[in-house]
Symmetry: C6
Subunit: 322 residues, 6 copies
C-alpha cells in the first residue's frame, strides 16, 4: 500500500527504462528524487509517456526533457488546450492560481512550488503544483497549517480582485481539502489543545494522504460541536493568514497572475524570478509546454523546484491546488 | 466523466455525420457551439433524430433545420401534443413559463433564453430552455443567485395572476432545484459568509451540475440549523427578487404569456421582440414546431439564443424550467 | 412511467377491442375519456373483464354496460358479496362512506363522485369512487385541501353518529392518505407559507400520485417540528371543515347513508338526486350491480359522473375512499 | 392475503372433507362459523388433524368431536403434557390465565372466551382462547381498549396473588401485544385525541392483525414523546382497569383459577357456570382433553363460546393470551 | 426452537445410547434430569464424548462416570490444562470464582451450584456452573435479581481481596450478562415499576435465554434515560448485594477460594461441606478431573447439585460464570 | 480463535522445525516462551524467515540468532533501510521512541521493553517493542493505565523537545490505541467508578486485543457524555503521567534518544545499561541488525527482555509503539 521510496522508485524506473532508448542526460536517480509519492504504476506510465513524447517530437532518443514533460502530465492530468475560456475566466483563473502560489512561496512550512499553470488539465481550469524535497511519512502541525493557508489562497485572491459576487464554485475542492486536513488534525492527530491527544469518531474511515480520516460519526453533539468549532478555527486562521498575506503582497499577486496570463505556465523558479523583476525566457512563448515538440525546452520551465532554503518540517505527496 | 468541450463535440459530430446525407447549410462547428453540455451519446442521438426528421419530412438531405428541431427534442424530450389541457391549465402554464422567461431575460447573470414553450414535453406541461454561450466549468455566486430567482419565477407568476389557492404542485421541481443550488452554495462552494470557506456534511454525495452536492449528513443540529437558515435566506431572496421583478414588469409578463398562449413556442429573440411590440412571424402558426414537416422553418424559432450583451459570468448546462 | 393520456388510451383500447365482438353502443373514445389514470395493463384488463361479464350474462356482444361494470371492478377490486356484515357494521360503513361522499359533493375543488358503495370490495368494507373530468398532471392547493377534507369525512361521520367509543380502525388508510398529501404540500410543493418555496428532506422518496413524497429524513428537529405542525394544521383544517359541513348537512348525511343501506351502491347522480328527494330507479334492487347478469342495467348506476359545474382546478387519478 | 370469509371457509372445508369419512353430525357451515381468521392452510390442517384423531381413537368416522379437538390444536399448538411443572408454577399459571379470562368475561367489547387451559402448548405455560362471533375487518376503539385490559389481566393476577417478587417473565408477550395495540391506536387509527387523525411514523411497517403498525421511525423527539405518553396512558388505563376488576372480583378469580388447577382446561361456558357455582361435568377428569381417545367428549368442553349478549363492536382473529 | 423437555431428552438419549455399550449403572432418565437446557445436538455430543472418554480410559463399557465427565465438557468446554497461569493469576481466579459461588449459595432464588473450577476451559480462566432443578420457561423477578448478584460476585471478590488497581478485564462477560438481564427486566418483562408493563424498543431483537432482548432502538432520549437509570439501579443493587454478602462472609470466601486453589475443581456439595469444615475426599488430588483416566471417580466431584431446599422460583439453562 | 498457548506453540514449532537443519543451540521451548501472542501462521513464518536468514548468511545450520532476528521481522515488519530520513526526522523519531521506552521502563505494570529502533519498518518510522513474560488472558486496570501512558510517551517527548509547531501526525496510531483502551475500560471492563460495572453500547463490536470493543452506539447523549468524559480523563491522566515522568527524567530521555540515533536499535537491556552509563557493545555498529549476515550477533541485541523484577499484573500480546 505505501508507495515506493526513492530507492524503490529508482529500481522500478530502471526496469521500465530498459525498454526505451535513453539519451545520455537521463539519470534514473534524479528522476526518482523528483517523483516522491509516485506509485509503481505512475512510474511505468511516466516512462511510457516520455517515450511517446519523444516519438511525437521525432527524437531518436528519449531525453531528460521528455521525462520532465511526462512527469507533469502524470501528476496533473493531460492538458485540455481545446477548452475555450473567456478572457474573464482566464483572468479569474490566473489570480486564483496566483493566490495559491504566492502563499506557498511565502510560507516556509509549505512544500516549494513546482509549477503553476492556467492551462486547463482534467477538470481543473488551472493548477499550482508543489513537490516535497524528500519522501515523508508524517506531517508537522506547521506544515498542515501552511497547506490550509495555501488552499485558501485561491478563493481569497478571487475575492480581493473580483469582489464578492464574482467568487466562483471553483474553490470547492480547495475548501473540501482544507476542511479535511483540519478535521484530521483535530480528530486523529491530537493537534487541538482543546480536545487533547484522543481519537474522535471511531467507525468509518476514508483514506486521506495515506492517513485515515474519520467521518466523525458516533460523536455526541456536544463533542462534535467542539470538534466543529476547532475545525472552523483552524480553517479560518488559514483563510485570514492568506488574506493578510495577499493584501500585503498584492503587487506580487498581480505580477504572478499577469505572468500566468502571459506565459500560461510558470515554474517555481520563474515565479521567484518574476517577483525579482526577471522575466522568464521562452524561445517560443506560444508553445512553451505544448505536446507538439520543441526539441529544446526552456531552461526554467523544465527545472524542478529548487531548494528554497533548508527545511525540516517534511512534506507530503504532490498536491495540486486547482 | 466530463462532457466533451466544443472541439470534442465537433469531432464527435463529424464522425456521426458521415453516415447521413448533409445539406450544404450544415456546419458541424456551429452545431457544436450550440450544444454545450451534450454528451457523446446526446450528439449521436442528435444526428439520428435529425435524419429521422428529414425522412419524415420527405427531404433528400438533412438540413440545418432538422438539426435545430432535433436539438430541441434531445434537450427537452419529445412533445406530447396529444395531451389535452384545459384552457385554465394552458393559461396557468403560460404564465408559469412566462415567469421563468421574464426573470431570465432581466438578470444579466442568467444564461440567455433559448426557447419557451407550453407544449407538454415528457412529464412537463411547459418549459423554458436556456443555453450558455460557451462551455463553463465554474459558476459565480451571481449566476447561482440568478438561477434561483429564475426557478422561483414560475411559482411567483402563478401566485400573482391566479392567487393563493390556485397555486399548483407544478413548481415542485423548480423548488427542489433551487433548494439544491442554495445548499451547494452554502455547504460546498463556501458562499455563505456566515459559514465561511468550509465544507459541511462529508459523506454521501450526489452529482449536481458536475459538482457534488452533499446530503448534509453528519452535521450536528446547531450547524445544520445555520446551514438551513442560510439556504432558506438564499432561496427566499431569489423568491423575493422574482416577485419584485414580476410585479414591476407585470405588463411584460402578460405579453410573454399571451404570446405563449397564441404561438405555444417562442424563441428567446421572439420574446425580446415581443416585448418591443414585434410579433413573431409564422408561416403556419398552427404547425410551428410540429414533427410533420414544414420544409422551411420560421426564421425566429430556429435561431439559437442571440448574444444579449457581453457577459462574463459564464453559464451552465442547458437547464429547462418546467 | 406516466400513464397514457386520453389519445393513448383510445389507441390502446382499440387494439384490445379488436379481439372481442362489440355492440354498436361501444365508443372507445367515450371509454377512454372515462378512464383517466388507467395504465395500459388496466385497459387490457378492462376489455377482458367486459368480455367475461358478457359471457356470464349470455350476451352475444359486449355492450357499453359490460364496460361500465368492468371499469368498476378494475378500479375498485372485485366485490366480496359473500362477506357477512352485521347490521351494526353495515350502518357504520354506510355512514362512513356517506361522510366521504357528502364532503366530495359539497367541495368544488374535489373531483365529482362516480359511485359510492357498501358492498365490500377487496379489503375495504365500502368505498366512494371519484373520477376526474380530464387527465391532470399538476394539482392546485385548493384540490389538495378538498381531498384531505373528503378523506376526513368518513371518520367524522362515524364520530357524529356513533360516538367516541365506536370509532373504528377503518379510517386508517384515509388518515395515512391525508397525512401524505399534507406532507407533500409542505415539503415538496412549497404550499406552506411558513416554510416557503423550499424542498425539505432530501434523500429517500416514494412515489405518490405521480409526485414524489419525501420521507422527511435529514431534517433537524427544529425544522421537522415546523413541518410537523404545518402538516398537523392542514390535516386538522380538513378535519374541522369536514366536521362543520357534516354537522350542517346532517340530514343529507342521513339521506345518503340510508340510501346506501337500501340500495348498497349509488352513482354520483343518484346521490345528488337523492338529496333532492328523487329515489334511484332500480329494476331489481337486490341485484343492482351483481355479477350474474341483468342484461339491461339501470340507467343511473351506469352513467359516469356528470358535469357538476365548470371546474378549473383539475383532478387526479381515481381515488377510492374506504 | 386476507383470509377467507365464512362462505370461503365453508367451500374450502367441503373440498378437504371429501377425502375423509364424515360422521352425520359434521356440518361444514357450523365449523366454518367457528373458525374465523383461519387461512386455507389452517382449514386443510384442521381436517387432517381431525382424521388423525379419529384414527388414533379407533373411530370409523370422523365426528364433530374430532373437529373440535383438532380446532384447539390448530389454534393453540400441540399440548406439551410431558412438560413437568412444579405445583408453584401450575398455581401461578392458573392465576395468570384466570386473570385473562375474568377480564375478558367482564368486558362487553372483548370477544367471548372460548377456552382457558393450564396445559402447556407450544412455548406457553397456559392459554386463554377467545373467539369472535363473526368475521371482522375493523376494530372499534372500545374493543381495542378491552383487549389491552385482557392482556394486562395475567400480570395483574400474578401480582395480586403472589406479590411483587414472584412476578414472572411470562407476561412479556402480553406486554408486547398491549404495547403494539396501543401504538397502532395512536399512530395509525387516529384514536388519540391529543394527536388527532394523522398517521405518525411513515416508513417501515410490520403487519399486525391485518393492519400495519408503524415502527414510529422518523418522528422528532417532541412528537414521539407525545406518542409515547399516549401509548403509556392507554396501556396504563388497561392495567388499572384490570387491577380494579380483579380486586373487586377476587373471589371469582380464585374460583376460575381453582377450577383450572382442578380441571386443567375449561370452556367459556364452564367458566361462566363455575362462577354461578356449577361445576363442570367430566366423565374422566384426568383425561378431559387428552390425545388418547375418549370417544364421547364432555359436552361443555366441546361447545364453542356461547353468545353472551348482543354485541355490536366486532371482534378480531382468535387471540390467545399466554 | 425450544429445547427438548425432560421426556424429550430421555427419548433422544435412548436413541443415541443404542450405539454405545452401556454399563448397568447408566440410567437415561437420570441423565435427562441432569441436563436441562441441552439441545438434541448437545445430547448427541454428550453420548459421543462419554464413549470417547471410556475408550481413552480403556473401559469396555461406558459408565455413569463417563457421562458425568462428558456433561462437564459439553457444558463448559474442554479443559486447557496446558495453559500456564502465574500464582497471582490462579489466586485471582480462585477468588473471582469463589465470589460467584458464595453468592449463588446464599441466594435462595439462584439455581444451586453444580461445580466451580479454576482449570481454564475455552477462553475462561475459571468457571462456576449452576444447574436448575427442573426445566423452566419463565423467570421470576427474584431469580433474575439473584442471577445479577451472582454475576457481580466475581468482580466484587477481586476488589475486596486485591484492591482497586488489580481489578481485571476478566469480569467483562459477567458485566455484559448482568446488563442484558437488567435490560430485559425493564424493557420486556415489565419489571420496572417506573416504566410499567409496556414493551420498550421495538425493532431489532437478539435471543437471550430463549427470550428476545430488545436492543432499545427507536426510543427517545427521555425514555431511554429512564430505561438506562432503571437498568443501572438494578445492576447496582446486585453489585451492592454481592458486596454486602461477601464482606459479611469473607471467611467463607477465603475457604472456598483456598479450596479451589488446593483442589482446582469443587462440586456444589463439596463447597457446602467445605464451609462446614469438611474437606473434599480425593483419591488422587492432582488428577481429579483429568482426561487421562482414573477409572473410579471421586464421589463428590461426580454428583450433580443436591437439593438445597424446596425452591419455587424456577431456574434457567445452565449458566457458567467466568 | 485464541492463539496457542506456550505448550501449543512449542508443538507447532517442533512440527515446522523438522524441515530445517537446526543448530544445537536452538531450543523450541525457549522460542515458544518468547513468542506469546503468535498465531500458528506466525510461527510457521518465523521458522521460514530464520531459514532464509541462515541461507543469506551462508550458514549451514539455523542458529538461535536467526530465530531471534526472524522474530523481530515477524513482529515488527521488515526493515526499510532504503528510506531516506532527514536528520531532523531521525532526531524526532529517536525522541518519540525514546519517550515510549522511558515510560515503559519506569512503569511496573507495563510489559518490559524488548527492543527500540529508529529503523523504519513497514509504515512506521520507528518502534518500541514490548514482550509479556507469560501468556495472559485478562488485563488489570493498572496494566491498562500503564499502556496508555506508554502510548502517550511518544507525543509528549516530541512536544518537550521540539515544541508545539513541530509536533507530528506520527502519533495518530498511539492516540487511537490509547483511546480504544480507555473506551474498553469504561464500557466493557467496568473500570469507571462513575459508570459502574455495566456494559455500555450494545450492538456492533470490533475485536481489540482479543476482547470486543463496543462502538458505543445506541447510547443516549447524556450517557455517552459521561462515557466520553471518563475516556478523556483516563487518556489525559496517561498523558499527564507521561509528561511528568519525561520532564523528571529528561536526562534519561536524552540518553536513550542519543543511543537510538547512534545505534539505531537498542534492546531493553541495552537501554537499561545505557541509563547506568554502560554503552552497548557492537562488533560493527553500522551493521548491527542488518539482513546481510554477521554470523555472530552482538550479545545484547539478541537477548530477549530480561526479567526486570517480579511482576504480577500480567501482560498482553506484543504491542509495538510507533
Amino acid at each position: 500500500m505505501p508507495n515506493p521510496d526513492i530507492i524503490g522508485r529508482e529500481k522500478i524506473l530502471k526496469v521500465h527504462m530498459r525498454k526505451v532508448p535513453l539519451a545520455p542526460d537521463v539519470e534514473p536517480r534524479t528522476i526518482a528524487r523528483g517523483t516522491p509519492g509516485f506509485s509503481g504504476a505512475d512510474l511505468a506510465n511516466l516512462v511510457n509517456e516520455a517515450a511517446l513524447l519523444a516519438a511525437r517530437r521525432n527524437k531518436r532518443l528519449v531525453t531528460h526533457t521528455e521525462f520532465e514533460d511526462a512527469k507533469d502530465k502524470v501528476m496533473m492530468g493531460a492538458e485540455r488546450r481545446s477548452m475555450v475560456m473567456s478572457e474573464e475566466e482566464k483572468k479569474l483563473t490566473a489570480y486564483h492560481e496566483g493566490g495559491h502560489a504566492l502563499i506557498a512561496i511565502n510560507l516556509d512550512a509549505s512544500d516549494p512550488v513546482h509549477k503553476a499553470t492556467i492551462i486547463p488539465r482534467g477538470r481543473a481550469l488551472g493548477m499550482v503544483m508543489r513537490l516535497p524535497e524528500r519522501d515523508h511519512i508524517s506531517l508537522t502541525r506547521a506544515k498542515l497549517k501552511a497547506d490550509i493557508a495555501v488552499a485558501m489562497g485561491g478563493r481569497v485572491a478571487e475575492e480581493l480582485i473580483f469582489g464578492h459576487e464574482k467568487v466562483t464554485s471553483g474553490a470547492s475542492s480547495d475548501i473540501q481539502m482544507a476542511t479535511k486536513m483540519a478535521k484530521a488534525m483535530v480528530t486523529q492527530f491530537g493537534m487541538s489543545d482543546k480536545l487533547g491527544p484522543l481519537a474522535y469518531g471511531d467507525n468509518e474511515e476514508e483514506v486521506f494522504l495515506g492517513h485515515s480520516v474519520s467521518r466523525s460519526q458516533n460523536m455526541i453533539d456536544e463533542t462534535q460541536k467542539v470538534v466543529d468549532s476547532e475545525v472552523y478555527r483552524i480553517v479560518d486562521e488559514g483563510y485570514k493568514l492568506a488574506k493578510k498575506m495577499l493584501k500585503l503582497k498584492i503587487k506580487d499577486l498581480h505580477m504572478i497572475s499577469q505572468g500566468l496570463l502571459e506565459y500560461e505556465t510558470l515554474s517555481g523558479d520563474e515565479i521567484i524570478n518574476l517577483l525579482k523583476g526577471v522575466q522568464p525566457v521562452r524561445e517560443n512563448p506560444d508553445d512553451s509546454s505544448g505536446d507538439m515538440g520543441s526539441a529544446v525546452p526552456t531552461a526554467g520551465a523544465k527545472k524542478t523546484a529548487s531548494k528554497k532554503k533548508p527545511k525540516s518540517d517534511g512534506g507530503m505527496e504532490p498536491q495540486p491546488q486547482t
